[in-house]
Amino acid sequence: MKKSIALAVLLSILPLALQAADGLFYVSFASRVMIYAIAATSLNLALGYGGMISFGHAAFVGTGAYVAGICIAEGVTSAWIGWPAAIAVSALASLVIGAVCLRTRGVYFIMITLAFAQMMYYLVNSMKAYGGDEGLSLPQRASDLGNEVAFYYVVLLLLLGTVYLLKRLSESRFGRVIVAIRENEARVEALGLPVFRYQLACFVIAGAVAGLAGALLASHGKYVNPNVLHWAQSGTLMIMVILGGVGRLWGGVIGAAVLLGLEHLIAEHPVAWLDALVPNYQQHANLGVGAVLLAIVLFAPQGIAGLFAGKRHAQA
């Protein structure tokens, strides 16, 4: 708990420090990291706590992004309308998709979530009215949140809210059941709890929060584009979760920070000897990401948060 509060305080004063040091670029960057942190945390709920390996989570982020984006494009610029709308539609989408997918198990589940994500991707891609494959540029952010620092604080508030929600969820009766399902699904059913309903509820909550992240993303970049729904994005979110720590409260946040931070470092700060070895190595950054991910999966499955917290696993 103390660590959490310290982190929250740190994040609160961060923009002031960043602004003083390097101007608004890093404040905007930090906002972007936090938005991804929200998305990764929502996936952590479904995957880390619930054990549902959804390879289609980006679809819900994307749905939220498009709903929010379309609202602004059509002139409805208030975040109070656009963002709840995004959450609602994403929740609905995850309800429908989850209801079909959760009838399957194991690899079937993974594949069908992946396929649904692709389906959404193609669907959005063919929406010519809203940019099709070129994406949709937005004239402004929701509620005129053009001020970087103001936007940062809004996102921060939502991130802290998300993490707090996850905390309360994980400690609640619902959370116990979800983690138990991950542990031994058959036995939970044998205790008299309808597993399907609990998993679906978890999936929908995760989808709804992902939708919020999507809405924020749309405002942040003033741009929505089908790539947000591509399954590679789902993969990126999964990488964040496993990097940060599957099933750990701050796993999504840490993972997003580390991944995006590294990406930024690699792009902005070339390392000479690496360049000599592999010319233009920055364009092949994915190789490094892949290698790191492979290493983590093979050698440190608990992620970074796991390294710090010892062997204690996420428990209700």
């Binding site: 079909v100 690899v107 079937y108 993974i110 992946l114 396929a115 399954w231 990488i239 092949h284 093979l298």
Partner: protein
């Protein structure tokens, strides 16, 4: 062709219980290797034939080094690890070959062939269908009639029992993986002239292959075949007829927007419907 990829995938998953997302990367490697060999030898046939063992070898190397450790791990680890492999392999290919490569269609086959009076069909596509059928037959014979095939089926149905009966599982797995890689190579090399040979080609077809095996039932070659045919049909019919159908029923503006959209998602709808009624596919290898 989709069948080839799906067959390899379903074998690997059915027997080794491993989700291999990098399967598409082997397909890509097959195509790139073929382009190199064709350029080196000047002959399309030689190029393709060389690419097959080369890819198979690479695949087996991959299996022995990295994938072996994943068999016992949970599905999430497998998904992430093979996803990491996709990233690595994509970039590696980009480093060696650049973002794309050329694989021209052999001149002899680029024209159409007269099947029946009035029905002309591109010769190359005929070749693909023919190869697909031959391999399907060969696989069927191999799996259903030979001893190795029996071992494979036993392993797919119940791995522990097969192990207990003294089957050399490691070797079997490596071989199966090699066969899967070889199938990918055939598909990649043959499809190269039709579609572009480029980095990332593996992923698009990978998802389709997964849809096929999910529909067909994991571990079943017959399922892969049926699935591939179904998917192919639905996709083609969907793309051809749905826009027309929509045009008849709805206003032109809606039709031109919705038609293609629904066509591309038709396959996924098919999968959703099938999984709804048969959560383990049409012909699951394990009961």
């Amino acid at each position: 062709m989709l069948f080839l990829l799906a067959a390899g995938l379903t074998l690997v998953f059915g027997i080794m219980d491993m989700i291999n997302l990098a399967h598409g990367s082997l397909y890509m490697l097959g195509a790139f290797l073929a382009s190199t060999f064709v350029a080196l030898t000047g002959s399309f046939t030689a190029g393709v034939l060389l690419a097959i063992p080369a890819t198979a070898l690479l695949g087996m190397l991959l299996e022995v080094s990295v994938l072996r450790t994943l068999y016992q791990r949970d599905h999430l680890s497998q998904v992430l690890a093979t996803f990491a492999l996709i990233l690595i392999l994509n970039e590696a290919v980009r480093l060696v070959w650049g973002s794309d490569a050329a694989l021209p269609m052999p001149a002899a086959l680029s024209g159409p062939v007269q099947l029946f009076p009035g029905l002309r069909y591109p010769a190359y596509r005929l070749l693909i269908i023919a190869v697909g059928l031959v391999i399907a037959l060969g696989l069927y014979l191999l799996v259903a009639k030979t001893r190795i095939g029996m071992l494979v089926r036993a392993g797919a149905a119940n791995r522990e029992m097969a192990l207990a009966m003294g089957v050399n599982i490691r070797l079997l797995f490596t071989l199966v993986f090699g066969v899967g890689a070889a199938l990918c190579a055939v598909a990649g090399a043959l499809l190269g002239p039709l579609f572009a040979v480029q980095v990332g080609m593996g992923e698009n077809i990978l998802i389709l292959a997964f849809v096929v095996i999910v529909i067909g039932g994991i571990g079943s070659i017959r399922g892969a075949l049926v699935g591939a045919i179904l998917v192919g049909m639905v996709d083609t019919i969907g793309r051809a007829f749905l826009p027309i159908f929509f045009g008849l029923v709805f206003q032109p503006r809606v039709a031109s927007a919705a038609g293609p959209a629904i066509a591309s998602v038709a396959i996924y709808l098919l999968m959703a419907v099938i999984l709804y009624f048969r959560p383990t596919g049409l012909f699951p290898a394990r009961g």
